[in-house]
Amino acid sequence: MRPTADLIRLAVPFLALGALLAGVFWLQPRAMSYTGLNLLFNLAVPIALATLAQMFVIAVNDLDLSMGAFVSFAACVTATFLHDTPLLGALILFAAVAGYALLGVIIHLRGLPAIVVTLGMSFVWLGLAVMILPAPGGAAPGWLRALMTVRPPLLPMALAASILIALAAHLIMARSSLGVLIRGVGGNERSVARAGWSVLGAKAAAYALAGLFGVLAGMALVGLTTSADANIALRYTLLSIAGVILGGGEFVGGRVSAVGAVVGALTLTLAGSFLSFLRLSPDWQIGAQGAILILVLALRLGLDALERRGVRA
């Protein structure tokens, strides 16, 4: 049996992750333990959630440039309102998700470029975050801290959580009719509309899911750091986009993979640790991180080309 195209697509991020993991273990055998794996991967959990959030937006052919600011905002709400007045905090986070859905509606109805709208929104989210938390501080709700530092048997929290969220997102994206609809809108919006489906609804749902996973990313981050900072997650915008692409997604066509996105996020996190274990000078680290990205993408392009040749033959 020949492996299908999707399987090859999914294999690349796993291969990259495996290679990096082998490198890390070789450089630092101490990482090969329950605690070690948790330390390596626990900060990847919020990145994985943010990457999934970005994936829902990319699935409908849009790009969200406000992801980092939004996660920072969610983190600030979590460390303040959700901690002090849980009900109000939950309400604000719920409103933020609704706000994201509304964004999807506006972008679709007015035919606005999502990049511009979300770039503008990034300043709004950041402004709100600074208003909530003008100076770094706040505290993680006790239950959240407990959740993020739980030590389940066999598998460290970071890996167990990654598997769980990958599975949940996979079920939404690949196994539910909503997921099919969202990917359909990314693939061919007009035919989805002609088939009688509501494109508006699909876009609103995709953005709402992005908002939901963004909020979860902010909460997970606060659970790990114990407090927040208005600038805490600004890097997540680019990390989340890179994670989706690294995980086998494409900018257009509704071709995304939830499992791949999570693996992509883990790979990006691990790349940083790998370079740090290599004792590479920080001046070179960003460049090296880019080189790893390009390497993985080149591998995928090569496999794609092979696959196409196979089809033609």
Binding site: L43, G138, L224, T225, Y236, T269, S273, S276, F277, P282
Partner: protein
Amino acid sequence: MARRLLSTRSLGAALAAALSVAVLPASADTSDKRIALSNNYAGNSWRQAMLTSWETVTGPAVEAGIVAAADAFTTAENSATEQAAQIQNLILQGYDAIVLNAASPTALNGAVREACDAGVTVVSFDGIVTEPCAWRIAVDFREMGRVQVEYLADRLPEGGNLLEIRGLAGVFVDDEISAGIHAGVEQYPQFTIVGSVHGDWAQDVAQRAVAGILPSLPEIVGVVTQGGDGYGAAQAFQAAGRPMPIIIMGNRQDELLWWKEQKDASGYETMSVSIAPGVSTLAFWVAQQILDGREVPKDLVVPFLTITQDTLEANLETTPVGGVANVEYTLEDAVAVIEDAG
């Protein structure tokens, strides 16, 4: 060659022995301990000097066998999440202590907690962290503002009008130093702050801001500053043809050089107060002391680098052009700071 190697080594051993016998009650040996510096940013002259000082002081300390390693790590990007990951990596690499200049006072608390739980000693300095299990070597910015007014009160007992040059609006440090200056003015009511501008800790911005406000001001006897802005203020006063007030200087080379020129020409007198980037080396020794088993209070205060009329030449000589005045700390300095706090 071999002999020289031998002699440096025996010198190092003698030094280590002398240190452990004479200075401290050596309760534990730190010669097998490894200390890491976690730094979030290296993009300005202060941070560059901080890293250079770390190398200068820890290099010989490692050679002398006081500690096994003292490696410096700087994150590729200035972000709290990246530094948190870096700290977790340092835990995995098995360091015994992490000396930390933090990107955020709170966002690293989770990673710092992980380090403490893994038995790693965490000493934060300059950019400190609030996690209770870590040690903090903090800068008393308020005091930095207050001592300026105190100095002026000493020089000008009859008081007068002051011009305040502030830093970057909305930054914690700016608020703190300014609050200290205003507290100083309350303490010495013969002074009045008649004008206040934002100089953003930069010469050019300060010069423009001071030049803009000068025409509207009465006679000024003193300028209280936040560092980095003294030279620009002096230029503005000179250009306006006004009598030169006492301008408190910061730690930049151009400020010290201007002061020296004025001192030689007309006997101009002032002072400079700043934080030496070499505070990283103070943090190194504090970490070494903690690893050595010494009881160290969790909150320590960084001593100011004060340059007076008498120490100006010596400090100017050691300050590179375009750099900042610096001082590297010794084990004795660290012990003194610890004892002051205890």
